[in-house]
């Protein structure tokens, strides 16, 4: 028979969207749960908790990571960016606007993670071709759109950015 122990709680400081947040968590708490339920940043969605669907993707030091496969205590000392962190104070980011323009979302559940993954892609490869976009998004599942309009959104955001660059 297992014995019941008092649950251990530790204090950690997380750097999320450029702000430091000090929270008390159990060491076993997932980063996704802390972001959502302790910090109230509910744009990060939990779809499988098995590391497969990609809906909980956040950027850790700029790289897309699944926040359901990471304990919050492991995220100390890293820069975390969630969808709230890439949304401008007013209006939409170029990628967000492209998703709206090209109907790159339906139910919207996978969308914040799609946008974050695309952000990371475009920072590394500002002019990706379709195959690169599809490869980059292959770890983010979407059940509604069949991906075509998502791919169009990312390609268009890249094209608009390079047009702006050229001006």
């Amino acid at each position: 028979m297992e014995t019941t122990k008092a649950r251990e709680v530790v204090q950690i400081t997380l750097q999320v969207n450029g702000e430091a947040h000090t929270v008390e968590v159990e060491p076993r708490m997932l980063l996704a749960d802390v972001i959502r339920h302790k910090l109230g940043l509910t744009g990060t969605h939990v779809g499988c908790e098995q590391g497969v669907c990609g809906a909980c993707t956040v950027l850790v030091d700029g790289e897309p990571q699944r926040s359901c496969l990471m304990f919050a205590v492991q995220a100390q000392g890293h820069d975390i960016t969630t969808i709230e962190g890439v949304t401008p104070e007013s209006g939409l980011s170029p990628l967000q606007a492209a998703f709206q323009k090209h109907h790159g979302l339906q139910c919207g559940f996978c969308t914040p993670a799609m946008i974050l993954t695309s952000e990371a892609l475009l920072r590394k490869h500002p002019n990706p071709d379709e195959a690169q976009v599809r490869e980059a998004l292959s770890g983010n599942l979407c059940r509604c759109t069949g991906y075509q309009f998502i791919v169009d959104s990312v390609l268009d955001a890249a094209a608009q950015a390079s047009k702006k660059e050229g001006q």
């Binding site: 028979m1 297992e2 019941t4 008092a6 159990e26 076993r28 708490m29 959502r36 339920h37 940043l41 509910t42 744009g43 990060t44 969605h45 939990v46 779809g47 499988c48 908790e49 098995q50 497969v52 669907c53 809906a55 969630t82 969808i83 709230e84 949304t87 939409l92 967000q96 998703f99 709206q100 323009k101 109907h103 979302l105 339906q106 139910c107 919207g108 559940f109 996978c110 969308t111 914040p112 946008i115 379709e130 976009v133 599809r134 490869e135 998004l137 292959s138 770890g139 983010n140 599942l141 979407c142 059940r143 509604c144 759109t145 069949g146 991906y147 075509q148 309009f149 998502i150 791919v151």
Partner: protein, 775 residues
């Protein structure tokens, strides 16, 4: 007075979605974002046996765990779910016996989900195993154990045959037979199922939050099963992360959570995890079909026979029993777009020790389409005819409409042959055949599959319930903006945009001035919800009807205020003006202020305020959308991998409200078709354990597996308001048959004709090995 405000500005246009801004910025509120102070979270202990007597449940250790508020078994929550059509109740927490892996047995409410799951681990259940019943053919045998003791395993049996079937079948020049097999699948929406309930402290009413396709249907079911009056229950559907049919059902967890909120007097929430989702969301398909076809040497098919068997799982789901949908509806359109005069069907739906069958997008469709197209492809191969040519020989033509099929279903006008010819052109059929022949010489195997589909839409009954109409309220607010509410249950389809397009055109206002509410039984008029591809047609009809009534009211008001006759008033650009005298006008805002505040300025007999509610019932039982999908694949005979290399769709869903949204629906349906044809299978092992309970085992199509699609539209209007037909399911109805047909075509040199889905790489390799061994 024109039929709409002016020329339609928004209906038929590619309007960008009004719901998107909040969704792309992570501001959508889904069910797990519903939180109240003091909220408890629930975890379930589920059966890990497919069939067993419950001998003992020990919950003491779980009850003692700090943070646990309640540990419930059947005695604490003796509620049941019963489909009125069948003699079978599922207790929301199993009583005495479990009948599938995943069936809820114990419910635990605790201060957090983490604690609830800790407690779930401490529950001990002692079982005595029973022999599980795991497939439909076994369930049909007299000697098999009864899943529900004292009741036949066959819970539905029906036989139908057209007059003269036997003679026609016997007289035909040729006959072929085949068994078609459809494995289990499920909707697998990205957001898992969930439910929250809270008693309103001011009124004592129960408020339930649930990602559901039919808010009013859910309220009715909750009230009936909890024995509460409907004015004491409010259902709120927040943002829903996809549904696809699985969120049209009543589930045991919902009743447990609602009962806990009432009994524990605390807000309570349950969120399914993904493993629970695979175990306990309704499953779909799981059918075996023994098919025979009779035909003549010119390719004419004269008679089709099908023994349709569906494994319904342990209980008959509410409100929609999937086994009935997958068979009875398939039987009603089994001949698809082909003029096959004779049909005979025998239907058997059986119980098993598997998860109950409910709805998944295109219920019946992938099954009937695969049979109908599979039969045509077999006839073509047998007669050495081009598969497209056999389709032409049998296809309905323009003079056949309205067409009554052998199941007495009446098809309204469509564009069957034209859609196929257009799709053949779009994919470059003749060139493909040449390329196919060349590549075969190099040992590469590409193939093409044609699927000409019928899609019965907007019918009176669907998985969303059996309300044949839809309702809409339209209110012009005192400042001239418009608020509408419908009883629909959108889960990503964009109703806030499409319904606003229709209403804006009626009122001559900008689409962004129309806010569409849905999903709250306190604000929405009673309606049927979303399912069976009914929202655009029936909901759209309600939006147009309510919008038109409001327009008439505004015109009457404007005519009175502007001292003109009603015939001369036009609504456009947010204004009412007198035709030919643009200077003589009032804005909608001015009219609204008049209507709400200047009671003496109103026309005689007109009530103050601007609010209407209208209901719309289409003038038909069903309207048929149609179209053609053509898939091209390459099958790699060394690895078994299948690549979709090209895909063409010609779709006819009547008049389009928003072509971009329609195309998005098609893309998504084709992707799900790729899953259905090649990836998705809920596999039970021989002991009755479901072994595909993660997304690593139950594979969904990813961005690299879904090709770019070419889409064209044909618009054959229906008789409904606006000329719309439904279209939410046609792409999943059509796609699997096209994809599987393409594999059969690619592997013709190996003598392969596919009869089961999904087709996996291992299956491909087995076929290739077999062909090489026998050669």
């Amino acid at each position: 007075m024109a039929d709409i405000a002016s020329r339609p500005q928004f209906t038929g246009s590619r309007v960008t979605r009004l719901e998107d801004a909040r969704l792309v910025s992570g501001q959508g509120r889904y069910l797990d974002d519903v939180e109240f102070p003091g909220m408890l979270e629930v975890a379930f202990v589920r059966s890990n046996r497919p069939a067993a007597k419950i001998l003992k449940i020990d919950v003491e250790a779980a009850r003692k765990l700090p943070g646990v508020k309640a540990v419930w078994t059947h005695e604490d929550c003796p509620l049941g779910i019963k489909n009125a059509g069948f003699d079978c109740t599922q207790w929301v927490l199993a009583k005495d016996e479990v009948r599938y892996v995943g069936e809820p047995v114990v419910a635990i409410a605790a201060e957090s989900r983490y604690v609830a799951e800790d407690a779930a681990d401490l529950v001990q259940i002692q079982y005595e195993a029973l022999p599980p019943v795991l497939d439909v053919r076994t369930a049909l045998k007299e000697s098999t154990r009864q899943v529900h003791e004292g009741k036949s395993n066959v819970f539905f049996h029906r036989e139908r045959k057209t007059d003269g079937f036997d003679e026609a079948f016997a007289a035909a020049e040729h006959r072929l037979s085949e068994t078609f097999i459809f494995h289990r699948q499920t909707g697998a929406a990205m957001e898992n199922r969930a439910f929250a309930a809270v008693t309103d402290p001011f009124t004592g009413r129960l408020t339930c939050y649930c990602g559901h396709q039919s808010p009013h249907e859910l309220r009715s079911e909750l009230c009936e099963m909890l024995d509460l009056p409907e004015n004491m229950v409010r259902v709120v559907v927040p943002e829903v992360g996809g549904a696809f049919g699985i969120k049209a059902s009543m589930y045991p967890e919902y009743l447990v959570v609602a009962w806990m909120a009432l009994k524990l007097r605390r807000p309570v929430k349950w969120i399914s995890d993904r493993q629970e989702s695979f175990l306990a969301d309704v499953h779909a398909r799981d059918g075996v079909h023994d098919v025979e076809v009779a035909f003549n040497s010119d390719g004419t098919i004269v008679a089709l026979k099908d023994h349709m068997m569906a494994d319904g799982g342990a209980y008959t789901a509410v409100p929609f029993c999937g086994a009935i949908g997958e068979t009875v509806t398939a039987a009603s359109v089994l001949t698809g777009p082909y003029k096959i005069p004779h049909q005979a069907t025998v239907i058997d739906c059986t119980y098993s020790n598997k998860t109950p069958l409910g709805a998944y997008r295109g219920v019946w469709g992938p099954i009937a389409s695969f049979i109908q197209e599979g039969v045509v492809d077999r006839v073509a191969r047998y007669l050495k005819m081009d598969p497209a040519e056999v389709r032409r020989v049998n296809m309905l033509s323009d003079e056949d409409f309205p067409y009554r099929n052998p199941s007495k279903m009446v098809y309204d006008k469509g564009s069957y042959l034209q859609s196929m010819e257009d799709a053949l052109r779009l994919i470059g059929y003749e060139d493909f055949r040449k390329r196919q022949a060349e590549l075969r010489k190099q040992g590469r195997y590409i193939g093409i599959g044609i699927s000409v589909f019928v899609e019965p839409t907007a019918s009176a009954s669907s998985e969303a319930g059996s309300v044949g109409y839809e309702a809409c309220t339209v209110r012009v607010e005192p400042n001239g903006t418009v608020t509408a509410a419908l009883g629909l249950g959108p889960t990503g389809q964009g109703h806030e945009t499409t319904m606003a397009q229709l209403i804006a055109d009626q009122l001559g206002v900008d689409v962004t001035d129309v806010v569409v509410l849905h999903g709250d039984t306190d604000s929405a008029p009673f309606g049927g919800g979303t399912g069976g591809s009914r929202s655009g047609t029936i909901g759209g009809g309600a939006a147009i009807t309510a919008g038109r009534e409001m327009r008439q009211k505004l015109i009457k008001l404007a005519a009175h205020a502007l001292e003109a006759s009603e015939e001369d008033i036009e609504l456009c650009d947010g204004k009412a003006y007198v035709t030919g005298v643009p200077a003589k006008s009032m804005t909608i805002r001015e009219l609204a202020q008049l209507a709400y505040t200047n009671v003496k300025g109103l026309p005689p007999g007109m009530q103050p305020g601007l609010e209407v509610v209208a209901r719309y019932l289409p003038p038909f039982r069903v309207s048929f959308s149609n179209g053609t999908h053509i898939a091209a694949v390459e099958v790699h005979t060394d690895t078994g991998k299948i690549d979709v290399i090209d895909y063409a769709v010609v779709n006819d869903c009547g008049n389009l409200i928003n072509p971009t949204i329609v195309e998005g629906q098609i893309h998504g349906g084709v992707a799900q078709g790729i899953g259905e044809a090649f990836l998705e299978e809920l596999r039970y092992d021989r002991d009755g354990q479901l072994v595909t309970t993660s997304m690593q085992d139950y594979l969904l199509p990813a961005s690299v597996e879904v090709p770019r699609m070419k889409i064209e539209h044909i618009q054959t209007p229906s008789a409904a308001e606006g000329g719309f037909k439904g279209m939410g399911e046609g792409s999943l109805i059509a796609a699997p048959a096209a994809l599987i047909g393409a594999v059969s075509d690619a592997l013709e040199p190996f003598g392969v004709m596919v009869n089961a889905m999904p087709v996996t790489p291992a299956q491909v390799l087995a076929w290739v090995d077999q062909a090489e061994t026998s050669a």
